[in-house]
Symmetry: C2
Subunit: 461 residues, 2 copies
């Protein structure tokens, strides 16, 4: 195995970080990154590097990496592209294990020679390099964070099981920010930009072996080695679900992708074939990438039969539509379940799927209905629609949903459409591991992908 | 014209409202409705009706409608179904012009005779009846509000130009709540439930003539008179865009719809044909209903060519994908525009569409780029992607977007994906009439429908 790939572990779990180009000017990247490490509570050693300063944010500042005189695991570069090869050389000579190069101005702007030169230097020293032209890495558990976006603008996810590999920093940020908003946890985040020496495939294999990563999200515009990517997907996906979004599908978008990270987007059909062959879950949008990952907190469904519970009739009808349209199935309640529901629910409730307990039923009816559906083996997954606006629904519903959704048995997902009050309740549910969706079609489309993955990998066993 | 249809105006603009079944018990509908009228600031006369009380929420309470002795325009019923025909008869005798029957327990639960009886009574007296089994009406301008959902759970939209006709109260609530969250204005809201005497077609024609309604949203499960519906759509849609969502498309969903409002969902293909024939904008989901309506605040595009501006490369690539996939076109900048952009934007910006001004450019680059695109006649609409997380973007961007988007010239829509900070900024933009979307595909799909409607109605002139 290449030495730089072995050193990838130091990029995600460094014991010490040097910030090359650290600054006291809040408009500079080198300031935001240093501040984020300090404020974010990174517990390893922090070494600001800049000949201009003696001290920055309470940390001694060094004129160059060579003058630190202590071991440096990771160096984060926030300096102009042209001077980076020289500084990287110095890092290599001083035993730095990994570098993150945030700066743009390499292959994506035509400076391919500069990029090649940098690549040779890092490989010579066996340094793991992320970038250039990227946001770098984040590891919430270790508070490693090279994202140069301020905390107040871009939330950081809590510690969790999802890892994200993204070619676009912007897309990565959007997903991490959404995850933070819904309190969904992340294990590792890596925005790899131009992928000069370490590619998406290398990162897939690395995180495939990472014990703290349970699902992997992949945002991809283009790869330099399609065969290697297919190999990595086939190796990793059966063990850990990979959820992929390919951008630059169309001709025009492909050109945009090229000027973005300097990579050819290639023929989309080839990617699609690779995703199908490796049974990777392919999604169509940024938010869907997040939606699908979030559903993996649930038990894997054993089939396509969906039970639907609602306190708003129209939303039940729309959910039934979505289920039939996308090839899932509306479950038929077993006789036992029907009897149980008839006995325990108010007389005006029709015992049928979707089960509409109507707006006045409230928390208790939800509890009874979920419990009955949970025990019915003719139901594979449960979609619970909550009209939080209804007077009979109060916040105890959250307690019921969290308690009754037995994550070892079958998945429970929640649909709630609305404004402030609804969104706040959704966030609470998500933070307790009950995935919520803002529309019936989003929930069902996601459930379908989750179910397909689960059924394929069940069959294989 | 039927007398009850003429009296519809009193339902939306009553000078006095009686609440039949008003209560001091906060768990009762009759309490929530009375409270909402009082707290919501309804300026007409309010008459609580309930023999149990002398006074409720500071208003004299009457034992029955007959004892009010003053003119009552609208009576809202929050009492059990069986006693409603008798009370409606009394309303009729006392000159009430319209009634809203919120109560369920009619045709949708098999009590068709009770519903027929009620229908005959209201027609005999020429009273306009909304319902039964509905949420009734809302007119933000007049603070008329029969929605029995508390304010803190379900936001009420501000005064605006969108009217909503919905068969499902739950779906209507979700849309109104979303509108309130994004500060998008509404003119009238009507949840018509079982449509015993007044149907969706009657409401379409009524609001088609309402000078304060500029767009109409229609959520429909089934109609009793398809021919009449087609006629109403053909009449209204060319003057005021109608945006329709048909639920109960599939067999199973159709059955759910029947037990919901007692109406057959019918064959979806017939509805689809009617929507096509009348050139109504058909949407696929609740949120899309809201999305499309929101875009009508913008100028109508003259063609399909979209200019894309972004500070996050990956989001630009995804937007280009969405444009090509749905049959819109990526505009080609005119030579003049390209020159202007080359001159005014930083050297590292590639002058191409999507125009990626990258994360460090900020507000000033946005202003220049939007201005140039606004003047380029080879661009029909502008999609501005804002990565609010980027350090260079500050809240001045909102000022630029509001000022530079000239709503007489061409539409400008904003895409912003992310958590708390991003969502708050989106809300501000929406409240200034710049429509925002949480993902590129949602924005482009909406823009496509908006463009199609605009082009069809341009051609006709």
């Amino acid at each position: 195995m290449r030495k730089d790939l072995r050193n990838l572990k130091y990029v995600f779990n460094p014991k010490s970080i040097a910030v090359i180009g650290a600054s006291e000017n809040p408009d500079k990247l080198g300031n935001v990154i240093l501040k984020n490490l300090v404020d974010g509570g990174y517990e390893g050693k922090i070494y600001p590097v800049n000949p201009k300063y003696e001290e920055l944010l309470g940390h001694k500042c060094y004129p160059k990496v060579g003058s630190i005189k202590k071991h440096v695991d990771l160096a984060i570069f926030a300096v102009p592209a042209p001077i980076i090869p020289k500084l990287a050389e110095e890092c290599g000579k001083n035993g730095v294990k990994g570098i993150v190069v945030l700066s743009a101005g390499f292959g994506e702007t035509g400076k391919t020679k500069l990029e090649e030169k940098l690549g040779k230097i890092v490989l010579k020293h066996g340094m793991a390099m992320i970038g250039p032209n990227c946001l770098g890495v984040m590891n919430p558990e270790k508070r490693v964070d090279s994202i140069f976006f301020p905390f107040y603008k871009s939330g950081r996810p809590r510690v969790g099981e999802i890892s994200l590999i993204t070619q676009s920093g912007a897309v990565g940020t959007c997903i991490a920010d959404l995850a933070s908003y819904y309190n969904v946890g992340f294990s590792k985040f890596v925005s790899y930009g131009n992928a000069t020496t370490i590619s998406e495939s290398d990162l897939l294999e690395h995180l495939g072996k990472d014990s703290k990563t349970k699902q992997i999200l992949l945002y991809l515009e283009g790869t330099k080695d399609g065969k290697k990517l297919l190999g990595a997907l086939e190796k990793v996906n059966p063990k850990k679900p990979v959820i992929a979004l390919k951008a630059g599908k169309s001709r025009a978008a492909g050109e945009a992708a090229k000027s973005h990270t300097g990579n050819l987007a290639g023929n989309y059909l080839a990617y699609q074939a690779a995703f199908r062959e490796s049974k990777v879950i392919e999604v169509d949008s940024v938010v869907e990438l997040f939606y699908v990952a979030n559903m993996f907190s649930q038990a894997r469904p054993k089939g396509k039969r969906v039970g639907v519970l609602t306190d708003g009739g129209g939303l039940g009808v729309l959910t039934a539509d979505a289920i039939e349209e996308c090839g899932m199935e509306l479950a038929e309640f077993s006789k036992k379940t029907s009897k149980k529901l008839r006995k325990s629910l108010p007389h005006y409730v029709n015992i049928t799927n979707p089960l509409d307990i109507v707006a006045d039923s409230g928390t208790d009816a939800y509890r009874k209905a979920i419990r009955a559906m949970m025990e019915d083996s003719s139901i594979d997954s449960i979609v619970v629609i909550v009209l939080f606006q209804a007077p009979a629904v109060d916040s105890r519903i959250i307690d019921v949903l969290v308690k009754e959704s037995d994550r070892r048995k079958k998945p429970v997902v929640v649909v709630a459409v609305g404004g402030e009050y609804t969104k706040e309740n959704r966030r609470v549910l998500d933070s307790y591991g009950v995935p919520t969706y803002g529309s019936p079609d989003a929930a069902i489309k996601t459930l379908k992908k989750f179910t397909e993955y689960s059924l394929f990998h069940k069959k294989k066993k």
